[in-house]
């Protein structure tokens, strides 16, 4: 059976006010949660006949930046520096911790469903007991400033499928690889193309590693963002993804397209050798499908607005996305012939 991304089709779009930065899917209940810039968490019940959004709760006091699912709880990270556990059914706040000294940018739940990891603007990687909210370890290895002496950021975190390793990516294009059990920094991958510092025209920077994803076999790490930017006033540079053999520290592939955008999220297809990336920028929103062996995408779909997040359901039938125009549900069934 051949997978043809050209047949990917936007099925439904559900609007919310503002932007959704984070997304998680409760596969058991087939509900989709989105993290809003209006400080709220939104939900779409994908089983419903007519899909509509529901504002579920407003537990944070700033943009909600990332979501994860742990048992019955939706875990939300926010620019208010906190991570909050909320019972998905009752909307009751279960637990709240001050997670970072700065915005919490991203979080990920371990495959064992017992731990989670967060990254924040204090440039730290924190590992948490998902059941108690106890801070288990703090991993410190990213530079605290850019090479030019400016504030930097730690945008993305990902966990290897076996849970044994964590990858964290920062603004200047550095990925740290950590051993989960010991917190040891195993190495750094340097991908400086994701960071454009314009020393001449505008004397500032743009870019950063905005997305990270391990391949299903755990051997490959995909890094997403934007390539060399010609005008740092905006995302005026090619959308870019790099594939790395993170264990040897070798870049094994470069995927780039002239579509000017930053890739905010990457996901490997669960069964096909494709990577799907979502983002937006000067050329508008993009949903790009890459064959991991090729530089150019095999297909670029035009989403409704800029995308911040995407999830491919485990059966590979649907692509769930969120961004500047709310939720989007894409049908991938037709893409599999």
């Amino acid at each position: 059976m051949a997978f043809d991304p050209k047949n990917a089709k936007l099925n439904t779009a559900c609007e919310v006010p503002g932007i959704l930065f984070g997304l998680c899917h409760d596969a058991a209940r087939d509900k989709l949660y989105g993290a809003g810039t209006d400080w709220s968490v939104y939900c779409v019940d994908l089983k419903a006949e007519n899909l509509t959004t529901e504002k579920k709760w407003t537990n944070h006091e700033n943009y909600v930046s990332a979501l994860g699912l742990l048992g019955n709880d939706v875990i939300s990270a926010s620019y208010d520096r906190r991570i909050i556990w909320t019972n998905a059914e009752t909307g009751e706040q279960v637990r709240s911790v001050v997670a970072h000294k700065g915005w919490v940018r991203d979080l990920a739940v371990f495959p064992n469903g017992k731990q989670l990891v967060s990254v924040g603007d204090d440039m730290l990687v924190n590992i948490w007991n998902g059941e108690t909210g106890e801070l288990l370890n703090t991993l410190d290895g990213h530079d605290k400033q850019t090479p030019q002496g400016y504030t930097t950021a730690l945008y993305a975190v990902a966990i290897a499928p076996d849970g044994k390793h964590i990858a964290s990516g920062d603004r200047t294009g550095t990925v740290c690889i950590w051993e989960t059990s010991t917190g040891k920094l195993l190495g750094k991958l340097h991908a400086p193309t994701f960071y454009t510092y314009d020393a001449r025209a505008r004397v500032r920077s743009i870019g950063g590693i905005r997305s990270l994803c391990f391949s299903p076999d755990g051997l490959m790490l995909a890094i997403g963002g934007i390539g060399l930017v010609s005008n740092v006033d905006g995302f005026v540079g090619p959308c870019r993804m790099e594939l790395w053999d993170w264990q040897t520290g070798q870049r094994t592939g470069t995927c780039q397209d002239k579509h000017n955008a930053v890739l905010n999220q990457i996901a490997f297809h669960p069964s096909e050798p494709y990577v799907i990336a979502a983002g937006g920028g000067d050329s508008g929103g993009i949903l790009a499908f890459w064959d991991t062996k090729k530089e150019k995408p095999i297909h670029k779909a035009k989403p409704k607005g800029h995308l911040q997040q995407l999830i491919v359901t485990p059966d590979g039938n649907r692509l769930l996305a969120a961004g500047h125009d709310g939720f989007q549900i894409w049908d991938l069934v037709g893409a599999t012939k």
Binding site: G149, Y150, A153, R171, R204, D233, D282
Partner: protein, 408 residues
């Protein structure tokens, strides 16, 4: 005209004498304009609107002025707000970079029949020491985007500032190998004689005078190279300003101001955050906060803040609406600027915007009012007239109203 007749830092005198007129120097009025090219966001600096949809994700923090909050990206300036006055009620109308920069820089709308000089050019002319061998106006504009050379307008090219556009230190001001200072002076004398001979009886003699004046300044400049050398500063001072380009330029600016240069402009580009506004302001504002607060402390510790007006301007602010690229676009209907030092009532907050920062609700001012405020702060008569041909031109626009609430 106020001013010192010698110029020099302790140990860096250009006349070879350590200043004997330090008291006079302290009283000489100077202006530093910090130009945030491209348009900084008032929301992420002086006029935050936390918890509003337009406010973005940054929190506000209290300042040394009770009841007044600034964006959390400015913790150091927050502590020094008793030295700073803020105007939150600029409505300047023009939101195109070039036209807006011209408007704010001159304090006047464009006029087909008359080209006005930049405020800094007028300030330099008014505040310059008569016999100073230093430049009257040094303009740092190292970034290329948005770079605009200060217009001399009807005052003519002889009033043009010294432009530093490639490096924060002038290049090619050392004597070539093998050329002695005496020989150089002799050449300069010959050049002057020939120039004056050429100008005699010709229309355009004024231009030759301008050249002569410029050459005299160059002679002074060649002897003042050390003023631009921030490596002469103690390491602790350099550390305080930080290692960013903006920090280094502001340290050089402080050296120039201290030495007696009456007008310095430091442009820090480029704030045009159409995309990723919050990320770019996370980068730019902390640098501005550190450098500006260090500068104010440094000037104060040296006894220079009372006589040095520091103005922070942009061509406009940024939109309340956060666009699809998480950016803010150009906005001139309600934005902010800051003042400190000479003639300024520290801690004064002028004007207000509505809860979403969309409109000015109190104390609206325009570009000509800002210009008049600058002139008045350093004691320049707003009604003093220059002449463009036979046309008298007052320094400030005729209907300009200085913002008295921020003046001491």
């Amino acid at each position: 005209m106020a001013g010192a007749t010698t110029a020099g830092l302790a140990g860096v005198g250009i006349t070879g004498e350590v200043s004997a007129a330090s008291e006079l120097k302290r009283n000489q009025k100077r202006v530093l304009c910090i130009w945030l090219a491209g348009g900084s966001s008032q929301f992420e600096t002086w006029d935050p609107k936390p918890s509003r949809e337009t406010g973005g994700p940054f929190r506000s923090i209290p300042t040394a002025v009770p009841g007044y909050h600034v964006c959390e990206l400015m913790p150091k300036l927050a502590k020094q707000m008793n030295k700073i006055a803020v105007v939150r009620s600029l409505n300047t109308g023009i939101s195109e970079h070039g036209l807006a920069a011209d408007l704010i820089s001159t304090g006047r709308p464009k006029e087909p029949a008359l080209e006005y000089p930049e405020i800094g050019v007028l300030l330099a002319k008014e505040l310059a020491a008569r016999e100073s061998k230093l430049p009257d106006y040094v303009s740092f504009f190292l970034s290329t985007e948005g770079r605009r050379r200060p217009a001399t307008g009807f005052l003519g090219g002889s009033n043009a500032p010294m432009l530093l556009e490639k490096a924060a230190r002038p290049s090619d001001i050392e004597l070539p190998n093998g050329l002695s200072d005496l020989k150089h002076k002799e050449r300069e004398h010959l050049r002057e004689v020939l120039s004056n001979e050429f100008a005699r009886g010709r229309v355009g003699g004024q231009m030759v005078n301008g050249y002569n004046s410029a050459y005299a300044k160059v002679r002074g400049l060649m002897q003042s190279d050390q003023l631009f050398d921030i490596d002469k500063e103690p390491a602790a001072v350099r550390e305080r300003y930080g290692r960013t380009v903006f920090g280094q330029q502001c340290l050089a600016a402080r050296r120039l101001l201290e030495a007696g240069v009456p007008m310095v402009k430091v442009a820090r580009g480029f704030w045009d955050s159409h995309h990723d506004n919050f990320e770019s302001h996370r980068e730019l504002v902390p640098d501005f906060d550190n450098v500006m607060s260090t500068l104010l402390t440094d000037l104060d510790e040296r006894g220079l803040l009372q006589s040095t007006l520091v103005v922070v301007l942009s061509e406009f602010g940024r939109t309340p609406k956060i666009n699809k690229n998480v950016g803010r676009d150009h906005y001139a209907a309600a934005w902010s600027c800051g003042f400190a030092g000479c003639g300024i009532k520290g801690g004064a907050i002028h004007g207000k915007t509505d809860a979403d920062g969309k409109t000015v609700t109190d104390g609206e001012v325009d570009a000509s009012d800002v210009a008049a405020t600058i002139y008045k702060a350093v004691g320049i008569d707003l009604h003093k007239e220059y002449y463009s041909g036979l046309r008298p031109v007052p320094i400030a626009k005729e209907d300009a109203k200085p913002i008295d609430s921020i003046l001491s």
